[in-house]
Assembly symmetry: D2
Homo-oligomer: 348 residues x 4
């Protein structure tokens, strides 16, 4: 006998929220019972598409509805903490969009609230449910790439400006969650530079450099102002190199059997000698499932079976810790900021 579908209430039905609505509506293991949004136009749109759901302005009706076991929050980031805590206090399980919160203090408040309520708190790090990113993690874990020297991530395009957060808080959560998931470790220091061209005080282009243990460096370049859309992560290992191009229609992961070889010893009279290895290029077949669909199904399963989600509150907190440190670096004109390796806490 299959279980009763999970009753879900969604708060925020804009660009991303409408995708979540579609998925929780379509999943057989969940039912979209209510959609709350402050904007009338979005409510009308939701009402048309989800006639079985209550479409409302006031999110409190979601918290009060006993049929709703789980709340999905896709509102502006600054409201995440308040709404998640109310939902948790009302006994709901919570899935919050990325970034989890806009400060480390808020993130901590949310984690504490989840623990107190004994409810699931998951953050919507979609890329952790992306088959291409899973393949990256598998490649790194297998040792096939060798030692990872550095990672270059580029996420740029024209548009989708946010009114309340800068480009780093908007776009970098994707790359940061990918990095943490793929590498399985936290950076120990970072430096962020950014510029605000179109909206005063809101950076629309930024470069974030992260130092991980063992000399591994990652740079994340984000922009709302580039004429060309690029979504690309390059991992340079000493044995193989891999490029993840999220815009490739089929072959998103390309593995280059390339590298540099140093001679085993250096003859004191010898000439400078490095040799380059140019081997095969390989794109492994990925079984594609829409990552957001997998994320939603994962959330339902974690709630139902009491499992810790892959992208749990702590994962969300780690990304917030890095973004908060990046904000401090930005504010200090690009000064280097140290992080506690496990938690990303700023040093006292």
């Amino acid at each position: 006998m299959s279980p009763v579908p999970l009753g879900v209430g969604l708060i925020g039905c804009g660009y991303w929220g409408s995708k979540l609505a579609r998925n929780f509506h379509a999943l057989p293991e969940s039912r979209l019972l209510a959609v709350a949004d402050l904007e009338a136009g979005r409510r009308a749109h939701a009402a048309e598409h989800y006639p079985d759901a209550a479409v409302i302005a006031d999110a409190r009706r979601i918290f009060d509805d006993p049929a709703i076991e789980a709340v999905v929050i896709a509102t502006p980031p600054a409201t995440h903490c308040r709404l998640a805590c109310e939902a948790l206090a009302a006994g709901k399980h919570v899935l919050v969009e990325k970034p989890l919160a806009t400060s480390l203090a808020d993130a901590d408040t949310m984690l504490a609230a989840a623990e107190r309520a004994e409810r699931t708190l998951m953050v919507g790090h979609t890329f952790e449910h992306n088959p291409a990113v899973e393949k990256l993690r598998e490649l790194v874990a297998s040792g096939l790439l060798g030692r990872i020297y550095y990672i270059q991530a580029t996420r740029v395009n024209l548009g989708l400006f946010q009114p309340d957060i800068n480009v780093l808080w908007d776009l970098a959560p994707h790359d940061l969650s990918i990095l943490l998931y793929v590498l399985g470790q936290m950076p120990i220091a970072l430096r962020a530079e950014g510029r605000a061209y179109v909206q005063p005080g809101i950076e629309d282009v930024a470069w974030l450099t992260l130092d991980f243990p063992d000399g591994l460096t990652a740079q994340v370049h984000t922009s709302w102002l580039d004429p060309c859309k690029i979504r690309r992560v390059t991992l340079v290992g000493d044995r193989q190199m891999v490029v993840y191009d999220d815009l490739a229609p089929l072959d998103k992961i390309t593995l280059y059997d390339r590298g540099v070889e140093r001679p085993p010893f250096t003859d004191s009279f010898g000439e400078f000698q490095l040799s380059y290895r140019y081997g095969d290029v390989h794109s492994p077949r990925l079984d594609w499932v829409e990552p957001l669909k997998r994320e939603c199904a994962h959330f339902v399963r974690c709630v139902r079976e009491g499992l810790p989600p892959r992208s749990d509150g702590l994962a969300g907190r780690r990304v917030v810790a890095i973004l908060a440190a990046a904000s401090r670096s930005l504010a200090a004109g690009g000064e280097r900021v140290e992080l506690a390796p496990l938690t990303g806490e700023p040093p006292e």
Copy 2:
């Protein structure tokens, strides 16, 4: 009556020197009279291809030859200063490969020697003779791009490691000479981060961020360790954006009539509103001539007519000033370094 061809002596006939040899040999307005190289294998190769030239080990024979009016130096950068000064002292005109020198002091020594000798000193900033870069400069000067917000330059590939200079001194001179030529101004501060993975102490990946006047920022990303070759400069203006892809076979310059428009005033109750303009995409036809051939012809003409070269000693010195400041930033772990806006001198 066409003039007697310029007698040219080349010092250094490796990867780049052999291209210079081919060009000065082929130009009707010059004659390649001598080639000096310390390595026997290269001398044999040069002797086979240029049987009319004297192929020698000792560069002094070039300085002593009265038929040689101009000396072209394509040796490791650390030797540029000494060789150029000897050539100038011997009354020769000099074309030096980029970077002009490995320190600001050396560059100053070279400029002074040229002035004393009243001879032409030119640096081989090939990209200043590249039709695509001339088109970029023309686009910027025309105002068609509007205000330039920022520039992203990427020059990465696997290989061509240098034994004596790092990736910044090796690859960034290209982008720096492009930036200075296209913008017509010097940066006022910079920050450089780099990592040395394959050869201890010699950075093989680096990120250089440059602040120009009026808020314009440029980032130059260089690497000897990327599996994919990228040669790309993006200029983001508030009216149009342009991408220069040096690897495109035909259409190297692409102009995007794209931008962000802010409403003329902001209603205090109004909603957040930015609109994106997505207009036509245009690749202007470039009349292609090999940039190095144009550079060599330009050098000959400047010598013959006593004209200041486009990429004169001062242009070479400006690039060296930036690289020297970048080295200080690198050594200080990425600290910001201020530059005098005209000369790039470090502040006392």
Copy 3:
């Protein structure tokens, strides 16, 4: 006062039918009242997505429902004629998927039925509602391309085999409707070659060469067996050339100011001389609207206002005439088949 939405019944809710359902459901000027499909799985899917529509197995209930004014047919091509005629006989307006019919006789039967019933008959040539194809037609009509020499169309990929029609009847209707719409004329002869590799008797790769008046030739290459997806039409004119790449995310139309110039006269002693003109490359901005959405809205407007649709029954018949002639050529091993220039009728 806005008019009552058009009541629409859909027959066939598979791959393409489900897209039509989504559009007629979403359009404010139409209401999806009923969906008929013989397959239970598809009915379940439709019932879930369109709870306000009657979801049924028997299409006759659509013909009998007086609230339904228009019937949309997205069933296998061999059933188009019978279903369209029944719908027209019941007084419904009809939109039929491409190809309109599987024989010229069937097409004629359908046109006659529409005329008798005084109802709108439209064929779903989606590409005639595609902004990129409209731009092609505009470019040809403007004379900007000069005389069109030839057109190469390629529509290949792996998969989407059909059980009942070959690759030509499946994929070529797209290119044929594009050609007829863009050129505004019919071919006068054709030749088709094809091979059936996977399913005996059903060609999975084919090449169709069409002769238009004035020496213009078009080749259409279709395949269900190519590892790479290509959707590309090249128009070669004597003044300019244009490529329409349907898979390009933004810049689908690229105009090449390229050509060959013959000298005005030929000196009898002169050498062979042709010069090539390589000018700018230009991608005009297209205002993108989903072509199928525009097609559906166009159908509703034509029904409401009694206008002849852009892709009317005659347009559908012209494509069927070409496909029928192509089938004769295929059956005769690639023999050339003549067509009446206006109607595509075979010569007696």
Copy 4:
């Protein structure tokens, strides 16, 4: 002890001849002793680059020079037969550019002359010496692709019109030599369609369809009028598919583990079922050597060691046989022409 270098005389030093000159000059195992060309400009150019070679107008001086053992012919195709026969009659070994001749009779005359003279006759099918084409042949021979269904070859670009031969004789020899070398068999029938737009009577666009044994079909599309340069061969096998893109800078061969699977038996009540296999994508590393350099070295070695060349006179004759049959098909408006499977002889 290394042997005396082979003395080589070149006749014809235009676009392609100058590449041959460069290679025979650079190879240690050959010496370029003489270059003949009717045009003074080309002679001046050759004299400047190869000061050790005799540069002459009259090819007879090459035939008469006893130091010249081998003659390389890169003149217009119509002159190949006469020049090759004179060279062979003078006891020289001969390398002739593609196409070997402009008629089957001429080709036979050349083969007979070579046999009579007991000298090597090789045709410059460069692609048979191309590592990517060798890889294609290896992939086919290994059975990895399974049964080859069909091959699509496209060789188009703007320009390089020939005054004396059409686009098929100019460009198709490349693809035909690739097909014959890779498949190891001759076509049994063909059909060619072409159009002459710019120069009356000289086709500038053509489509050639070839039937090989076992149902394998190949189409070769050539054009001098396409705005985009394409050099692409796709082999569709029932187990794997491979694309050879000659313009890819590094990864010219891409192997797609893709295919269509038919169910082992068909249930009489069952539904239509074909499944598509989308597996990994793989680009094997090719050790790149300039194909023309390998061709030249191969010629020298065959002459020296008395070995039959890979691309011998018979290989050249096979390509001529196909082109001659294609010309007959073109002249007959695209009629099918049968070929003798081994020799390409027309049926009586």
